[in-house]
């Protein structure tokens, strides 16, 4: 269980993370979602004490990271798969990390096998592909068999096979009862991986909820109708004050429930061939929710 409480990180006069609070529950994959530059990585660095937070705290089962005697047995964090000396072999890379927390050389071989790198254990990390480095990073995370796993953009730059592998790893970790926090700006990926979402924009919490709740709360909904008397129906709906986009024999009506449209049609003797509620994707929900807080607006937006 991770509890982040009012975490704030300032760089000079810039506030990268502002009074951010959220929790990560065991047995679930929590997606940490936000546009680039919204403070996800900063938050993660503050959580494990690499950056000093200006105020607030992150606690792992009630304790701050710096108070963990052998932190790798409780928290495994992979912030950047590139954080490995290119001249060291994969095995030696894991050995120095293992030794620092008192794990044996046998444990190193175990995790190498777990991620499927035993064949290239003696190869230098510099010769690794991004996917192999990502696996090496996961191996380092698993050295201490931690109950909390934190991954920053693990799917970044991976091929489809690598992404699927990461997804399965995360699912397995959560199924084993661990608390998994994984950041991404890839929304479709989050929808497939995550159970819960922590959405931030400009360093502030936008929402914490399940994926379904998030779509319900933030995604746009509209009603699609098909009718042989479409023109009459759209006129009626427009007169009632709703926005209508029609194309061919179908029309999308915004800001109204399907039932209301149905009743309006019945009251006026209009035949309907389709009456359905449409929901925007997670991507739309995300853009909608963070629209007010995106760090870098385009020219057209900043003009408004």
């Amino acid at each position: 269980m991770i509890v982040v409480d009012e975490l704030t990180k300032k760089y000079g006069s810039t506030t990268a993370v502002e009074r951010l609070s959220f929790t990560v529950a065991p047995g679930r994959v929590t997606g940490f979602l936000g546009p680039n530059g919204s403070g996800k990585s900063t938050t993660m660095r503050c959580m494990i004490g690499l950056d000093r937070s200006s105020s607030g705290s992150a606690r792992f089962d009630g304790r701050a990271y710096r108070d963990l005697a052998r932190p790798l047995t409780e928290v495994g964090a992979l912030l950047d798969a590139g954080n490995a000396h290119s001249g060291r072999s994969a095995r030696n890379h894991l050995r120095w990390i293992a030794t620092s927390n008192g794990f044996s050389a046998r444990r190193v071989d175990e995790v190498l096998e777990m991620v499927g790198l035993q064949q290239v254990a003696k190869k230098r990390v510099g010769q690794f592909s991004l996917g192999m480095k990502q696996r090496l990073g996961i191996a380092a995370v698993m050295l201490g068999d931690p109950q909390v796993v934190i991954l920053d953009e693990p799917a970044n730059g991976l091929d489809p096979e690598g992404i699927r592998w990461i997804r399965e790893v995360l699912r397995n970790l959560a199924n084993q009862g661990r608390s998994v926090l994984v950041s991404s700006h890839l929304l479709a990926e989050m929808a497939m991986i995550a159970d819960d979402l922590v959405v931030i924009g400009r360093g502030r919490l936008v929402d914490q909820c399940t994926v379904t709740e998030f779509i319900d709360r933030h995604a746009t909904k509209w009603v699609t109708v098909r009718s042989p008397q479409l023109d009459r129906l759209t006129d009626l709906v427009r007169n009632a004050g709703h926005r209508v986009e029609s194309s061919g024999d179908a029309a999308d009506i915004h800001g109204v429930e399907a039932a209301a449209v149905g009743e309006l049609a019945a009251a006026n003797g209009i035949v309907l061939h389709e009456l359905s509620t449409q929901t925007g994707s997670l991507e739309d929900a995300f853009l909608e929710a963070t629209a007010m807080s995106v760090e870098y607006h385009g020219l057209s937006e900043s003009a408004t």
Binding site: D51, N83, A84, G87, R88
Partner: protein, 249 residues
């Protein structure tokens, strides 16, 4: 603490450039002193010749050991491993101390090896040449001890500069220019301005002087000079440790 030291030692010895630097730090000074006793005129060789060459080449040895000290910190920043180091060991003073123990012991061991190999091989070379039997030089042992300690102290200085700059080129430049240029210029200006015996107040020069067989007359003596330099290195190290503790990784 022991685990952190062992981890730092693995980290240091599993990168090829570190091993190369360590070997170069022994080979160059050994080559200087051994070639010198090989080609020196036989009439000029006395009991102080071989130890003199060994401690004379010691300044090269300790500077290269300082470079090794720089590398063991800066490569953590250039390769990003510092984040893993501090995630594995959140206590930054402990990380600094463990690294310091490893580079200081290694620095002392490398200068010790230079002295050992230099003395054994150098004596064999002198024996093979037509030189009358030499008595042992009474200044050799304390000078050798000072050189071993300098190996440790300069390694710590390199590490401290590396931790302050976090950047290999600027750290190595600082380390090398300090004794070669900065102290020369500062010392020269100061002695022109008002102080006469300013040379002994130059920390690095003072440290290097402690390794001489025959000490300069206006210094603090062997252990005084070395202690004075070590005090400076302690000061820089404390600043570096504070910087590691305060700055974001």
């Amino acid at each position: 603490m022991i685990a952190t030291i062992r981890s730092e030692w693995i980290k240091l010895r599993t990168v090829r450039s570190n091993v190369t630097t360590a070997i170069v730090a022994m080979v160059i000074p050994l080559a200087i002193s051994l070639l010198s006793v090989t080609f020196m005129g036989e009439n000029n060789i006395d009991s102080g010749t071989l130890p003199g060459f060994i401690v004379g080449s010691g300044s090269v040895a300790v500077l290269l050991i300082g470079v090794l000290g720089v590398l063991c910190v800066t490569q953590e920043y250039s390769q990003g491993t510092i984040r893993l180091t501090l995630a594995a060991t959140p206590s930054r003073p402990r990380v600094y101390l463990a690294k310091g123990v490893v580079v200081a012991v290694l620095g002392a061991a490398l200068t010790g090896l230079v002295i050992l190999i230099g003395t054994v091989v150098g004596s064999a070379i002198i024996d093979a040449r037509d030189v009358p039997e030499l008595v042992s030089n009474p200044d050799a042992a304390p000078a050798f001890l000072a050189m071993i300690l300098m190996g440790a102290v300069v390694a710590l200085l390199g590490m401290a500069i590396g931790a302050l700059t976090r950047n290999p080129p600027s750290a190595i430049t600082t380390l090398v220019l300090w004794p070669l240029l900065v102290e020369g210029i500062v010392g020269g200006l100061l002695s022109l301005a008002f102080v006469d015996d300013v040379a002994r107040w130059m920390p690095f020069q003072s440290g290097l002087n402690s390794m001489f067989l025959e000490l300069p007359e206006d210094g603090f003596g062997r252990w005084g000079s070395l202690g004075y330099f070590a005090a400076w290195v302690l000061f820089v190290s404390l600043m570096a440790e504070r910087s590691l503790k305060r700055r974001d990784a």
